[in-house]
Amino acid sequence: MSILVDKNTRLLVQGITGKSGGFHAKSCMDYGTHVVAGVTPGRGGETFESKVPVYDTVMEARTQTGCNATMIFVPPPGAADSILEAIDAGIELVVCITEGIPVIDMMRVKAALQKSSSRLIGPNCPGIITPGACKIGIMPGYIHNPGKVGVVSRSGTLTYEAVWQLSSRGHGQSTCVGIGGDPINGTSHLDVVKMFNDDPNTEAFIMIGEIGGSAEEEAAEWIGKNCKKPVAGFIAGATAPPGRRMGHAGAIVSGGQGTAQGKIEALQAAGIEVAATPADMADALLRRIKRG
């Protein structure tokens, strides 16, 4: 067991003939992910790596291959449209890697998502991995090991950092979910936290956040009231100047809202062991587990 993706995931790649789409589709295949189809409008009929059929539309790919997840590498001007196309075709899990989608486009996508049964991970995210079973995204597969610790994060490289610390201390991961650094995303910290809480294969998890918004506070409040599993957290951006967008579109402190200090206090109030530095994430979880 794991959350969202496993051995049965049948993956479509939208933008499979592009440079990074192709590169990462291949790396997912090498990891063992079942990549069953690709979509690039106008390139239908071709094959990728001489075995994956390419279609013009997501609906065709869905009908022909029964794909139940998609990984999107379409550049920002067309990315929101690609998500909407995947939702329309009824794809259950939509993982959008694309960075730089306009907020207003995502606002409309979000409205469409709420009327559908699809789940969106991202955009502007590294993707999702269940080690040893399925990798959908751009993370380096080899740092992960199968195990029982979940990781959820807005940042790609901080997720790798946490996974690396866990793996080098002998702890594998159940599933690692990068929810993305944009102000409007498909899946929140809280959504993933609830899934980890319900997943029998996840025994503890790390929640990584950063400045901006209030998603970490909302997840922390729920954890404090409902979560039965040990949780460690880390919040990046304590030294970020207010009013400046720190790389991620969503990482900004404005009007005194979304500060690292406020988030750290919310996590601590919920009984989450907060890592003092990014080097302390795995150890913080081990301390939390020991505390019982």
Binding site: I101, V103, M107, I138, P140, G156, Y160, G237, T277
Partner: protein
């Protein structure tokens, strides 16, 4: 991206949002001409810089105040001549001040009542929200803190947009008299049209005024644009004024690097925004001060890494450099080659601490070891932070 007041006025005009009449001048003669076209009206001449506090600022030539009232075209010309080409220092500019190359000459209206209205995208609901208050002309954050009941929020359905009944509701919340209901609603609707059409992340009108002559006008408007959407707004991108920006950031943006200048003395070069922020945090935690935020991103090439390095070295405050890379898409050997190239191009005058992990890490470490560069390697992020803080001390 920030824009000038006169550019904001152009946008308001373009979308039919009532504001004060006037124009922008680059010479005293132009200022006089605009003032003449506003014949008989009270005038205001305002220095155009991005920084706030212009009214209370002073010029390096001794002239006081970047905002002045006057009555005649001759006076407008004289005021413009004292501001144009001069450097204005305000509490937001720092000692260096900002060069004034344009002034706005506008009608100075007599104010009956000052109101506040803003539109922004609310992250919590993933939808636009209108924020309105009867307490215009003041610091809205202070109003929100002291008298939260005076701040009103109206949620907008992202698929429907601002509806006419919501505009009327807004007008009532703001106490706008019946005679001004129609022009007020037109102003709100046009402002919303501008907000969506220009991909703003926020537009703030403060103050929105009712004038003594019975008009409603957006007297001052601030815009924040969604950087991700600028690709479809070449007209707004053309408003960018690089003389108002940190030169280090301008240089970085030319190479598509995500760089934000800070005041410390430890430069950092990191991949990924989250790890870049966390690296700044751990430097501070170890007693150092970061000189910058720099995310080279996942797809950076050797050339970009070289440029990034040059920018870090060019900052005279910097006493040590920390490279912290966890290679995912970014390959460690690319970073290593970028460092080697940069140090060939510009000699490295300060200590360099490098921590590499992830994709192609062995190739990266080998390149650095064989390069003969003087550098300190670190085993993990904590070790790297300690070493760089010690090196900068």
């Amino acid at each position: 991206m920030n824009i000038h007041e006169y550019q904001a006025k152009e946008l308001l005009d373009k979308y039919g949002v009532a504001n004060s009449s006037g124009g922008v001048a680059s010479t005293p003669e132009e200022a006089e001409k605009i003032a003449t076209s506003l014949a008989g009206k009270n005038l205001v001449v305002k220095a155009q810089v991005h920084a706030g506090g212009r009214g209370k600022g002073s010029f390096k030539n001794g002239f006081k105040g970047g905002v002045h009232l006057c009555k005649t075209p001759a006076e407008a010309r004289d005021l413009a001549s004292k501001m144009l080409g001069q450097t204005l220092v305000t509490h937001q500019t720092g000692e260096a001040g900002r060069l004034v190359s344009k002034v706005l000459v506008a009608e100075s209206v007599e104010i009956e009542k000052e109101l506040y209205i803003a539109m922004l995208i609310d992250r919590a609901t993933s939808a636009p929200v209108v924020v309105a208050s009867t307490e215009g002309g003041m610091d809205i954050e202070a109003v929100a803190e002291k008298t939260p009941e005076k701040i009103h929020h109206i949620a907008i359905d992202p698929l429907l947009g601002l509806q006419p009944y919501q505009s009327r509701k807004l007008a009532k919340l703001l106490g706008i008299p019946a005679a001004l209901l129609k022009p007020a609603c037109a102003l709100f609707e046009n402002l919303y049209r501008l907000f969506i059409a220009c991909d703003c992340s926020m537009v703030e009108v403060n103050p929105l005024v009712i004038t003594k002559s019975g008009d409603i006008r957006a007297l001052d408007a601030k815009f924040n644009f969604d950087d991700n959407a600028l690709f479809r707004h070449p007209d707004i991108l053309a408003y960018r004024d690089i003389t108002e920006e940190d030169p280090r950031e301008v240089e970085a943006s030319k190479s598509n690097l995500n760089y934000i200048g800070l005041d410390g003395n430890i430069a950092c070069l990191v991949n990924g925004a989250g790890l870049a922020m966390a690296t700044m945090d751990i430097i501070k935690h170890c007693g150092g001060e970061p000189a910058n935020f720099l995310d080279v991103g996942g797809g950076a090439n050797e050339q970009q890494v070289t440029e990034a390095f040059k920018i870090l070295i060019s900052d005279k405050k910097v006493k040590a450099i920390l490279v912290n890379i966890f290679g995912g898409i970014m390959k460690c050997d690319i970073i290593a080659q970028g460092i080697i190239n940069a140090s060939k191009a510009v000699s490295l005058p300060i200590p360099l601490v490098v921590r590499l992990e992830g994709t192609n890490v062995d190739a990266g470490r080998k390149l650095l070891a064989e390069s003969g560069l003087e550098l300190t390697t670190a085993t993990d992020i904590a070790d790297a932070a300690k070493k760089v803080v010690a090196a900068a001390a």
